[in-house]
Symmetry: C2
Subunit: 219 residues, 2 copies
Amino acid sequence: MAKVTIIEQVTKANDQIAAQNQALLDQTKTVAVNLMASPGAGKTSLLMRTVEALRGKLSIGAIEGDTASQVDADKVATTGVPVIQINTGGGCRLDANMVRPALEELPLDEIDLLLIENVGNLVCPAGLALGEHVNVVIASTPEGDDKPYKYPGMFLAVDTVVVNKIDLLPYLDFDMAAFEGLIAGLNPEARILPVSCATGEGLDAWTEWLIELCSKPAC
Amino acid sequence: MAKVTIIEQVTKANDQIAAQNQALLDQTKTVAVNLMASPGAGKTSLLMRTVEALRGKLSIGAIEGDTASQVDADKVATTGVPVIQINTGGGCRLDANMVRPALEELPLDEIDLLLIENVGNLVCPAGLALGEHVNVVIASTPEGDDKPYKYPGMFLAVDTVVVNKIDLLPYLDFDMAAFEGLIAGLNPEARILPVSCATGEGLDAWTEWLIELCSKPAC
């Protein structure tokens, strides 16, 4: 029983810091998106495409979470947007306490949209608040259409499911209707956005949703 | 400091149970392989292909680890091999204590090769012993060639790297030489086996390695 109590306290402490992070973001009218996915599903590619598509429309900042290395932050920095790398030192997810100093480093006053790329993982980051306003999972078609069934915690915890790599559909055994059916059963409110970061297909719906998010008075 | 001590004790307790699991496997001359990968990289597909290719050569058993569902165990059961599903209840990896009762359920006396499919995750399962004799990671070409750089803990912890989905290489920006270079830098002893579970290409080298493992007197 003692162990359970400790875990609850850790989660509670995280939630308190996450709430402080969100208050900080609200003060500067910055909308934060927590981007989650398996390794290699296309988090950095989507982020790069988003920066490119929204140039002149929204001012973007980024936080890159990884177990090691800063290769993603270096890539994002080439676009000119402010970016902070967080290395978790082997940890399988970001938490609110890791995000806090990154928020303090970033010029939030000048940022409309903060994209937080979590560690590549479909288990650990699900449901752990960072201070974000919305949660997004990127599913990738080569991973197969059964992932919502096998990682329900993640697919339950998100507002939007981006289905990336639709350019590979002709070469894969991926049933989009079956995938959408699983999401509808688990999380019927979730928006599903099929895209290809390689060809650009479908990205308009994604960026329009982000613009809509950033135009709400609550944000 | 107290927290660090607790974590060390947990790992130590796991290692003790893992050693007992390995002793049990050694008694029955069963070689155990810990199969790790991102979600959707092809763990179950490789397992199904392996059972098919080794029918009449090795007697196989399987343990399927998932956060939820038993869809993988149901698939594997169609091949006729004995299989046990372990649901971690949201946990991001198997541990030695979860594997123990599965070993007790399986007819180990009749099993030459036990394939343990870990939870889909490139972070948590790395380096946590289950009782296995060898560790394998399956990397998937659509994930990109930079994964060893971003998940070094996993690529350091394995004996063999299977590179799956090579049938998709013509449609991807995946540089096999760059990938192999990263592995050579991190873990020069690791064997690299490019395969396609879709077409069967490259699987002979994989099954030959498994046959060789099972023919060693130590196993």
